[in-house]
Amino acid sequence: MWKWLHPWAKPEKSYALAGTLLPWFSWLALLAISVGSVWGLAYAPADYQQGDSFRIIYLHVPSAMLSMGGYLSMAIAALVGLVWQIRQADMYVAATAPVGAVFTFIALITGAAWGKPMWGAWWVWDARLTSELILLFLYLGVIGLYNAFSDKVMAGRAAGILSIVGVINLPIIHYSVEWWNTLHQGATISKFDKPSMDTSMLWPLLINIVGYGALLGAVSLYRFRTELIKRERQRPWVKAMVTAKVSGGV
């Protein structure tokens, strides 16, 4: 299997591969997000308890899931980069961290906008919101560490190690926060319960999860390509490509 993967470890090849994948991801994201959002916002029935405010779920749940999934994928890439010394994996870590951070931010904002009508407060120390907040701190740590190094090879490896340490901590943080939350029940009134959603409500959610996943992938690939060129800027193939692109208008 590694033999089959190996040719893709060449920078030109992985740049081209990312370039072929990018339009697929982008179109899938555009299609799925528009279908899922319109369906969810306009056509799905309203929740019998929460009324129309539940429609925030079509944004909140995908972004929360993908913020966790994005961190996991970043840590897996970091592990691959550390074990097999594949430089592109470190570039992927650097490329995906800001995207994951934005998704985490969206999960927090939508959680707050949901919490205000439901709980009467913009912020409650609910277990899920608290662990999202800590996840945002972890993301910001990876981004901050990456930006602090001027040597980007070192930066990528350091950020990779930090994201592996973070991903080992993530389940511990998650369960400890949940446990802490059950101890201090007074703060929370209800959770983001979604017991047995109706299928007419569930379909747009699933479509949106796919859509935002594709968006995460597309933006990460795009940033990965930028990151790769930044590191390879002295190589002839990069120079040739840039000259061709810039003379033809970027």
């Binding site: 740590g141 350091a158 901590n169 511990i172 943080i173």
Partner: protein, 224 residues
């Protein structure tokens, strides 16, 4: 040289160099006492209120003082090049890292435990609460040193790593803080608290087995 000898040699060396600059050991403790003094002044001196916030105050202060002393864990050795010598030597970097963390704990964790009765008196803790506080600190401070060392190893090559270090490390301290304070809280209601203590011990075991590898990997990156 056998690994245990290297371990002992490094711990001895750290202790001796800390004795020569004893301000670095004393200042974090002093910091703990000053911060603990600020809370009664800010919140008011009612013993009930203080007893309620005491575990949280003590633990947050302990974490902050640990952060203060963390930076010198690798910085001096990094700047005078002895860290590079250790990397070049035939001994495993993992063992060296563990020895340095152990020395750091001896120089920060143990003194904190020694002044904890004083803090308990200042925050009007009861005996059973203090006992729980002592136990959680005894188990928790090595974890603080271990996780902190990973952060230091990652940032030691940076010129302005200080603030970044605390941003990296503080979120990782949250689980241990949660279990420690809830153990103390259970003790305050005279409930059994061996559950959270056992989880803390498990976290300590996990950190002690994984962190040295992360530290050595991070040091290799920083020294490049």
């Amino acid at each position: 040289m056998r690994n245990s000898l290297v371990f002992r040699a490094i711990v001895r060396r750290e202790l001796i160099s800390a004795m020569r600059r004893n301000a670095e050991v004393i200042n974090p403790l002093w910091f703990v006492l000053i911060v603990v003094t600020l809370f009664p002044i800010a919140l008011g001196p009612e013993p009930q209120l203080l007893a309620k916030v005491a575990p949280g105050v003590f633990w947050v202060t302990a974490i902050l003082s640990c952060l203060l002393s963390l930076e010198r864990l690798f910085r001096d050795d990094f700047s005078d090049g002895s860290l590079e010598q250790m990397l070049m030597s035939s001994h495993s970097l993992v063992g060296i890292a563990l020895a340095k963390v152990f020395a750091h704990w001896l120089l920060t964790g143990i003194p904190l435990l020694l002044i904890s009765p004083l803090v308990a008196v200042l925050l009007s803790m009861e005996w059973q609460v203090y006992k729980a506080c002592f136990l959680t600190l005894a188990i928790g401070t090595p974890v603080l040193s271990l996780i902190g060392a990973v952060g230091v190893a990652l940032t030691v090559g940076l010129r302005k790593g200080g603030v970044l270090l605390s941003l990296l490390v503080l979120p990782l301290y949250i689980p241990i803080l949660i279990f420690a304070t809830s153990a103390i809280e259970s003790a305050a209601f005279s409930l059994p608290y061996d559950g959270p203590l056992a989880i803390m011990a498990a976290i300590l075991a996990l950190c002690a087995s994984l962190c040295p590898f992360a530290i050595s990997a991070a040091l290799r990156v920083s020294l490049n």
